[in-house]
Subunit: 210 residues, 2 copies
DNA sequence: CTATAATGCGAGCTATCACTCGCTTTTTCT
DNA sequence: AGAAAAAGCGAGTGATAGCTCGCATTATAG
């Protein structure tokens, strides 16, 4: 009854060895993306760098897109780890403290693997299953909104959805541009000023003014 | 002495007809990008849509990248037209009025050709000569900075470079996300609220508070 | 120990795409 | 009108990338 044509099901990985292969492939994809760019990231090249044959690659991934998607997924998980932690830490804090912390974390998150982040942000065509490279925005939105609604008493009269949208856009953009454009021109002093000013800006939007 | 091997110089366009061909090619590139996406935008396809042969295409453009670069250039010029006009209009106005106008223009600029903007922003790998898809940021920066420095009296003590960086990032991001994500869910009412709040946020960052 | 499944291999097939080249048609110049 | 330059043409070429398939190796089961 052993009816499981081993050529068709491109995915599973039950044994130890195969899980290692899958990891090696994802890791190799990340390395190739960073060191050689998206264009040079052919399936053959990735397999070579992973020390695995193309055939094996296709046993676990239906194609190049899936590989890249896996890399993105892994990277997003790392980022969301930081972000979720920040939100629980900040849940009971007043707006100013919370915003400062969240801005800081946004920058830290973008710094997790700047080279990879750069490639993912600039070279990956968001097409097919890669549509949502920055899917974490959709996950962050509800968190921010929930926090803001829990702090309504501190806040001006402002539509919560709109406030969330503006905050997330602004903070994300500042963090993103800081890490990607200003490269490593980031003295701690600069970062502190940046956080101060961004915090001020966002707090100015949200809080009742005296 | 007629030594100008007509196969080598891929570029010029002296006659009327050839200028039309070049235009048709750029236009076709834009159309294909919008309607079929970056991946389907092969030189053969573009030539076909332009009603021109591949051979002619290569008389004026050294390759696919150059075509796309031309489309980007054209689009950026349109946007910068709006933006430059806004800055001259706004040069002598106080901060609040100016910021409101600039936010409005930022949104209008992103709405010039949203479909194309979307493809350029999401599907074009920024590689080689396409590195600076959003080159206008580098042109906008000095304009903003100059304006802010001319209004120093109205402003808080804040580093002008830092202020410029934060303003541009924030406004650009809000405009970008508004037009690209919120799609056509843009009632005039929503836009007005958005402009109000974004203006408030930015003004809060820049101005002396009483 | 043998059988069966799981994993791994990599030469090679197919499709596609960027790009060329020899030639024709159109325009300009005299 | 004739000649020469400019523009246009499109079948064909070479390279490359994604992906398959038959077979080899390693692990698990009986």
């Amino acid at each position: 009854m052993a009816r499981k044509p081993p050529t068709k099901p491109r995915k599973n990985a039950s044994q130890e060895r195969s899980r290692a292969t899958v990891d090696a492939l994802v890791e190799a994809t990340a390395r190739v993306l960073v060191r050689e760019g998206f264009e040079k990231a052919s399936t053959n090249r990735i397999a070579e760098v992973a020390g695995v044959s193309v055939g094996s690659l296709y046993q676990y991934f239906p194609g190049k897109e899936a590989l890249v998607a896996a890399v993105i997924e892994r990277h997003n998980q790392e980022i969301m780890g930081l972000v979720r932690a920040a939100f629980t830490e900040v849940a009971d804090m007043p707006i100013e403290t919370a915003v400062r912390e969240l801005v800081t974390v946004a920058i830290e998150a973008h710094r997790i693997d700047p080279k990879l982040h750069h490639v993912l942000a600039e070279q990956i065509p968001r097409t097919g299953q890669l549509k949502d490279v920055e899917a974490f925005n959709r996950e962050v939105h509800p968190l921010v909104r929930a926090y803001l609604e829990s702090r309504r008493k501190e806040m001006r009269k402002i539509d919560p959805g709109l406030a969330t949208f503006i905050c997330v856009s602004a903070i994300e953009a500042v963090a993103h541009n800081t890490v990607l454009n200003q490269a490593e021109m980031l003295s701690d002093r600069m970062v502190r000023m940046l956080v101060d000013e961004t915090t001020r800006m966002v707090v100015g939007l949200l809080r009742r003014t005296a």
